[in-house]
Symmetry: D2
Amino acid sequence: MSRSSVFPVQVQFGDCDPAGIVFFPNFSRWMDAASLHFFMSCGIPPWRELVKTTGIVGTPLLEIHTKFFKPATYGETIEVHTSIAEWRDKVFIQRHEVRRGADLLCEGLETRAFVVRPEGHPDRIKAIPIPADIKARCA
Amino acid sequence: MSRSSVFPVQVQFGDCDPAGIVFFPNFSRWMDAASLHFFMSCGIPPWRELVKTTGIVGTPLLEIHTKFFKPATYGETIEVHTSIAEWRDKVFIQRHEVRRGADLLCEGLETRAFVVRPEGHPDRIKAIPIPADIKARCA
Amino acid sequence: MSRSSVFPVQVQFGDCDPAGIVFFPNFSRWMDAASLHFFMSCGIPPWRELVKTTGIVGTPLLEIHTKFFKPATYGETIEVHTSIAEWRDKVFIQRHEVRRGADLLCEGLETRAFVVRPEGHPDRIKAIPIPADIKARCA
Amino acid sequence: MSRSSVFPVQVQFGDCDPAGIVFFPNFSRWMDAASLHFFMSCGIPPWRELVKTTGIVGTPLLEIHTKFFKPATYGETIEVHTSIAEWRDKVFIQRHEVRRGADLLCEGLETRAFVVRPEGHPDRIKAIPIPADIKARCA
C-alpha cells in the first residue's frame, strides 16, 4: 500500500460564502496545501529549498477533477487525506479525500508535474521527468 | 447557437504564487464569478434578490473539471467565456474557457444545481428542478 | 489579567505572493479567524448558532490597524495571540500578535461591533450594545 | 495637486461572507491591486519587469490603517481611488478611498517601501530609498 498523509483544516468564517457554506475554490486551496504537505511528510523539502539543489520550483496543476458531496461550514474541522494515485513519466496524479469524521465531503484528483525554469528563460516553466529520488521517497 | 457571456479579469499580484503565476484556485474563483455573470447577463437577478421570490439561494457546485494549458501572471487581462454545455433535470453543466487574446489558458466544466433551503431546515440546502423560466431566459 | 487565545496557522504556498512571502491580506484573514476563535474559546457559540437565540450575525470590522515587522513564508507555523484590548459601549478592540517562535511578525488592532439584522430589514445590519453575558464570559 | 488613479472592482459572490457582505480582507486585497495599478498608471512597469533593471521586487506593507464605513455586497461595482499621501525617505504612504457612487465605503492608509533582495541573500528583502525617477513619475 502506498503512503498517505492527513492534512487537518479548521474551516473559518471567511472561507464561507453568503449561502453559509465553504466557497468551493477553498477546497482546491486546501488540496493544494495537502499536496505539498504530502511531499513534506515524505521528507521532500519545501520548493524554495528544493529549487537551490534541483531547480524545481513547484508542482503546478495540469488538471483538476473534483466532486462535491456535502457542504462544510465554519467552526468545523475537516481533514484532507492525500495519496498518489498514479505516477507517469512526466506527470503524477494525486488523490485527495476531504472528510469530516466518517463523512466524505469531496474528492479530488489532481494531475501535476514537477517544473523547472528553463535556462535563459527565467520567466517560463517546463515539466521534467519525475525525479527518481522523489518518487522513491513517496512510494 | 446558445448564449454566452464574457467576463474580463485583470490578474493581480496577490493572485499569483511564489512561482510568479496565477495560483490555480483563483481560476475556479473567476469561473464562479463568470457563472453568476452569465446568469445576470441573461437577466436573472442576483441570488440575494432571487431568494425573496423563489427561495433560490445559489447554484453550488457538484463537480468541477478543469484543464490548465498555459499560466497567466499579474498585469495581464484575461477573459472567461461562459456558456451552458447541457441542461439536465436537476443539474446543468457550465463551460468556461479562459483566454488571453487568442491563447486558451484553461478550460473548465462545472456541474451545478439550483438550490433552496428546505422548509423547517434553514441550515440545509437541496437541489430543485431547473426552473423553466430561468432556462428559457438563458437559452 | 484578561483572557487570551492562541490560534496556530501553517503558512501555505498559496498564501504567498511572487515575492515569496505571505500576501498581507492573509494576515487580516488569520486575525479574523483568531477573533472568532477567541470568542469560541470563551464558550460563545459560532455566529450561525448565536443568531438563533440572540439575532447576532457576527462582529464586522469598523477599523483595522496593523503593523508588519517581519515576513513569513510557506512551510512555517505561526501563531496569532488574541485578547481584548478594550470594551466600549457598542464596540470593542481586539489585539492580535502574530508570532513565529519568539519573533513578533505583525501586530493588529481591530475595532469591532456585535451586529444584528434590524427587524423588517433583513438586508441591513446594525450594531448593538455589547451583550453583558458575552462580555462576562470573555473577561 | 497630485496624481490619482481609479481602480474599479466588481464585487463577487465569493468575496462575501455568511453575513452576505464583503469579507473585509478583500478590501485590503483590492487596495493592494489599486496600489500597483497606481504605479502602472504612472508608467512604472510591473515588478517582475522592474526587478530586471532595478532589483526592485515589490512594495511590501509596513503598516495599514483602514476604516470601514459601509458594507458592500456582490453584484455591485465599487471603485478604489488611490493617491500618494506622503513621500518619506524610505517609505511612502498611499491613500485609498473605496467608493460606491457617492458613498464612501472605506478608507485606507498604507505605509509601503520599495524593496530589493540584498546581494548574497536571495531569501531576504530590504527597503531602499525611494528611487528619484519613480517619485518623479508619480508626482
